[in-house]
């Protein structure tokens, strides 16, 4: 048995188990050790992605595949997880009782997501989703003494379990009507029977409904604002980045690979989900007063744009989705890093948008960075956030889906309003209330700086290399 293609997963799994022991024996004292060791493990896993994990091919009798698509997903996921751990290291109070277990859970979630992006069978797909979700439920309620965090965890769990059930039901239908759980087998069955078969069609719908929950696409988005608001900020940042990438990539693989021959069937569903997410994400964000809720709607909105690339399909569409998600996580992590700086002198975290008033005068650097992230999330050129939007629209136009592109781009105008509102509060309003405490963590400041540079117009220099990377990754599933 050749284990080299799953080396990253092995590193992370063994590392997570060892660190769990360390955390158990050292308790709170082990929090720094566990955090940095986890970051090192994630970076180590990234380093191994180059060879076998990219070219290993189909493994374990068709359960997993080691290809460029999965490797690209893992690259993004591991880096997001590492950022989430670094963010959390300072967020939890020094004496927080379970600070040491947090990185372990993130590692386990990362393993689950690795399985998601490289699964080629409905069973491994489900195992990956659940491994990620179980870790995520615990993470959401990590501050168990905080009512909002506990509520977030419970809501996430109840709704997530329901979605998992729906997905599993869809999988069982597909298995029952095709006789296989392998993606290629399912594809062959769809090729043979088409969507005439009502069983296959139901299986497809339920499977996609479950996936839509994981990527928080409308109409399965309702958990997102509550969970994002209640969960600790680093956890929210993590939820908004890595699991989203994993679930979107999984959706791409399922739709283009397993359900490829049924494109007409899922295209309608995904078109609806894309447009509904864009518009609901944009409109519902209007009334929000909490920045984390606002960013939750922003993530719903952004997933809608990524889905436009999926609807377009083909190598170009798939590569535009990968590009979109890669840039999206940079913007969203950057925004959450800024949100984490919203902290009063007394050490209490503030989440009200009003408290940002006049930030450009009290903390010009932070305001400037957040403004860049906001303009970028809105997709206003010359910020780099414009380019991935352009790519998904280009993919849609190349497939002749011009009406979809027009509808999507009108959504950006509606969405621009609430991103502008943040800029308005920071730049146009006079300072109100007490200013935030100064951030002292140099590493976080450096990350904000680097992310802001990436999404600034300088990011356009990345178009070449990143475009080639996503192009190759997307090519590997066709």
């Amino acid at each position: 048995m050749n284990f080299a293609p799953i080396l990253p997963e092995i590193i992370l799994t063994i590392g997570a188990i060892v660190l769990m022991m360390v955390a158990a024996f050292l308790g709170k004292r082990g929090s720094s050790l566990c955090s940095w060791a986890s970051v090192a493990l994630l970076l180590g896993a990234v380093a191994t992605l180059g060879g076998e994990p990219q070219h290993g091919g189909v493994l374990f009798g068709g359960q997993l595949v080691a290809d460029g698509f999965g490797a690209f997903g893992k690259l993004v996921i591991y880096l997001c997880a590492a950022v989430a751990i670094v963010m959390a290291h300072n967020w939890f109070e020094r004496d927080f009782e379970h600070a040491a277990e947090y990185p372990v859970l993130v590692l386990l979630a990362a393993v689950g997501m690795s399985v998601m992006v490289s699964s080629t069978s409905l069973v491994t797909l489900y195992v990956g989703v659940e491994l990620n979700s179980l870790a995520a439920y615990v993470l959401a309620s990590y501050r168990r003494t905080d009512d909002r965090s506990a509520e977030a965890g419970l809501k996430y769990f109840v709704l997530g379990a329901l979605a998992s059930g729906i997905m599993l039901y869809g999988i069982s239908l597909l298995y029952g009507f095709t006789g296989t759980v392998q993606f290629d087998g399912v594809a062959a069955a769809f090729m043979r029977d088409g969507t005439e078969s009502i069983g296959l069609l139901f299986g497809l719908v339920f499977l996609l409904a479950g996936l839509a929950f994981k990527i928080s696409a409308v109409p399965f988005h309702m958990w997102t604002p509550d969970v994002y608001e209640g969960a600790p900020t680093p956890v929210t940042a993590f939820f908004a980045s890595a699991p989203k990438v994993a679930a979107v990539l999984l959706g791409v693989r399922v739709c283009l690979d397993a359900l490829g021959p049924a494109m007409d069937a899922w295209r309608q569903i995904m078109t609806f989900a894309a447009l509904a997410s864009i518009f609901l994400g944009a409109i519902a964000a209007y009334g929000q007063t909490n920045i984390k809720r606002l960013l939750a709607y922003s993530s719903i909105n952004n997933v809608g744009f990524a889905l436009i690339g999926l609807v377009a399909g083909g190598p170009q569409g798939a590569s535009s989705v990968l590009f979109y998600m890669a840039v999206y996580v940079v913007m969203t992590l950057g925004a959450f890093l800024c949100v984490q700086r919203m902290k009063g002198e007394d050490g209490e975290y503030v989440e009200a948008i009003d408290s940002l008033a006049g930030l450009s005068q009290t903390r010009p650097g932070l305001a400037f960075a957040l403004a860049i992230f906001m303009f970028s999330l809105a997709g206003i050129p010359p910020m780099f956030g414009f380019w991935p939007k352009l790519m998904v629209f280009n993919a849609a136009v190349s497939e002749g889906l011009i009406a979809l592109a027009v509808a999507g781009i009108l959504g950006t105008v509606i969405g621009a309003y609430y991103y502008l509102r943040i800029v308005k509060v920071m730049y146009f309003d006079a300072p109100a209330g007490q200013p935030y405490a100064r951030g002292v963590n140099a590493l976080e400041t450096a990350m904000i700086f680097v992310f802001a540079v990436i999404v600034s117009p300088l990011g356009y220099l990345l178009i070449g290399p990143l475009g080639e990377l996503t192009g190759r990754a997307a090519g590997s599933i066709f």
Partner: protein, 514 residues
């Protein structure tokens, strides 16, 4: 002289670098940085003009550097772009000078926003890649949003949102149209697209998408409503840039994209454009007549003047298009100067209410003189730049449609009415308000701001050839391109049959030669 130097990239990069430097300086440091940067840019602009060869190739100072992903840093200018770049570079130092004392809070950020604005505006006029053009075109929204929102008047927030969302909504459809064009033609290069023949049925949609963007930017009636708000709320220099350069992007878009890329569709939409322009001329002029706020009056006059541009452009003939270009340049100077004139007295009395002034000719003679020059230029008095542009544009329009020509000409009469009425209320009569009577005349700084514009306005009025020469060849190429879609026109001009000259008359010079 400039061969081998990426002069256009330098013109884009220089203000950008200066903007970054300005952000980290004190208020005075930022002012000087901005002034020096804009003056150096202006000097480079003069070199560019000298070095531009009107009889040379269509695209000069060409640079191209692929960025990847189908977009490239492609730059190059023709005579049309050259003149608009010169307009931008000329107005920028004046804007910085106009903000020297008027802006007191957050000066480094203000100067940085203006320099960024300059960089993006130059980018719009130099970009030769479709997507690069879009990035510059839309990018200008961010600094202008900040300029209006941070340093604007009491209603600044509403005005800044309106400006941003209105123009964004107009432009996004253009992006989709651009993607369709790239998909169909397989190129992002603007020069190549200008020679590409799209199917007429497709042109129709593409034209509409581009029109949505340029009509908002221009602005044309009825999508002009963001403009009065933005002008009234923006600081003086913001209004100057908005009226002077940003509005020209709409006209530039028509001349660069709509006409050469979609000639058939442009022809088909002539009645549509002419009806909107005709309504704009009459309606906005009448609205201007009823204004109590100086800036609002000039803002509405801008909409009316821009209608001359659309009239001229869609005439499809030499006079019309040259006239439209001259109106754009002239309006850039004149409306900019008028906003500065408003700014001069606003800085003293802090009101834009027309009735709070009156009789300023008595205590501010220099101001009254310069204001008179710009008023006359706006009216289109012969000898000023306004006359040349409006006359040519009307000649061109008349050749296509007599009715359009007649309606457009009423704009001149109405324009004279509202501008002279404005001038009368501000400068003539008795000094009824004590505070207005106590205002000092122009100081040296203000003279330095207004006098160069007055000189340029006169120059363009007396010897427009300087400005027409660089663009004549390019307008010729444009006409060649749209020739096949040229409207027949209702003027039916025929060459006259002059009687042969009397023999004696012809011999006279011969006799003299003896």
């Amino acid at each position: 002289m400039l061969t081998g130097i990426p002069i256009l990239s330098i013109l884009v990069a220089l203000p950008l670098v200066a903007a970054i430097i300005a952000m980290f300086q004190s208020a005075n440091g930022a002012r000087w940085t901005a002034l020096i940067a804009t003056l150096v840019s202006l000097a480079l602009g003069v070199l560019l003009w000298i070095d531009f060869d009107p009889s040379g190739p269509q695209w000069q100072f060409v640079e191209s550097f692929p960025i990847g992903g189908g977009i490239s840093w492609a730059m190059g200018i023709d005579g049309i772009a050259l003149l608009l770049i010169e307009l931008t570079l000329f107005l920028m130092p004046i804007c910085i000078g106009a903000s020297w004392r008027a802006i007191e809070k957050r000066v480094p950020e203000y100067m940085a926003a203006f320099l960024l604005m300059q960089s993006l505006m130059i980018g719009v006029f130099t970009a030769q890649d479709l997507l690069l053009f879009y990035i510059f075109f839309e990018g200008g929204l961010i600094p202008m949003y900040l300029i209006i929102g941070i340093w604007g008047g009491a209603e600044r927030i509403k005005a800044s949102y309106k400006f941003f969302l209105y123009t964004l909504a107009g432009s996004v459809l253009m992006l989709i149209a651009m993607l369709v064009m790239i998909w169909v033609s397989g190129t992002t290069s603007i020069p190549e697209l200008m020679a590409y023949d799209f199917a007429p049925s497709l042109q129709w949609w593409l034209w509409l998408a581009f029109f949505a963007s340029f009509a908002v930017k221009m602005p044309m009636w009825p999508v002009h409503t963001w403009l009065p708000d933005a002008h009234v709320q923006a600081p003086t220099a913001g209004s100057v840039i908005l009226a002077g350069v940003l509005l020209k992007m709409g006209g530039y878009g028509f001349i660069r994209f709509s006409l050469p890329m979609f000639p058939e569709a442009s022809n088909e939409f002539i009645p549509f454009v002419y009806i909107l322009s005709g309504i704009a001329v009459v309606v906005t002029s009448l609205i201007a007549l009823a204004q109590h706020d100086m800036k609002k009056l000039i803002a509405y006059s801008s909409v009316a003047h821009m209608a001359f541009v659309t009239f001229g452009l869609f005439a499809f003939n030499q006079q019309g298009i040259e006239g439209a270009m001259i109106v754009m340049l002239s309006h850039g100077l004149v409306s900019g100067a008028l906003f500065l004139c408003v700014g001069v007295i606003y800085d003293r009395l802090h009101t834009r209410e027309i009735s709070r002034y009156g009789g300023l000719a008595d205590n501010m003679p220099k101001y009254a003189l310069l204001f008179m020059v710009f008023t006359m230029a706006s009216v289109g008095l012969p000898g000023t730049s306004g006359f040349v542009g409006e006359f040519l544009s009307l000649v061109g329009t008349y050749a296509v449609s007599s009715w359009a020509g007649i309606v457009a000409t009423t704009g001149i009469i109405l324009g004279a009415a509202y501008m002279l009425y404005l001038y009368w209320r501000i400068c003539y009569g008795k000094l009824v308000h004590a505070d207005a009577a106590a205002m000092k005349d122009l100081d040296a700084r203000e003279m330095w701001l207004l006098a160069p514009i007055a000189a340029a306005v006169m120059w363009m009025g007396v010897y427009p050839e300087s400005f027409m020469r660089p663009m004549r060849a390019d307008i010729g190429r444009l006409l060649e391109r749209v020739e096949r879609a040229k409207p027949a026109g209702d003027a039916h001009l025929t060459a006259g049959k002059p009687a042969p000259a009397p023999a004696a008359h012809a011999e006279t010079p011969v006799a003299e030669a003896h």
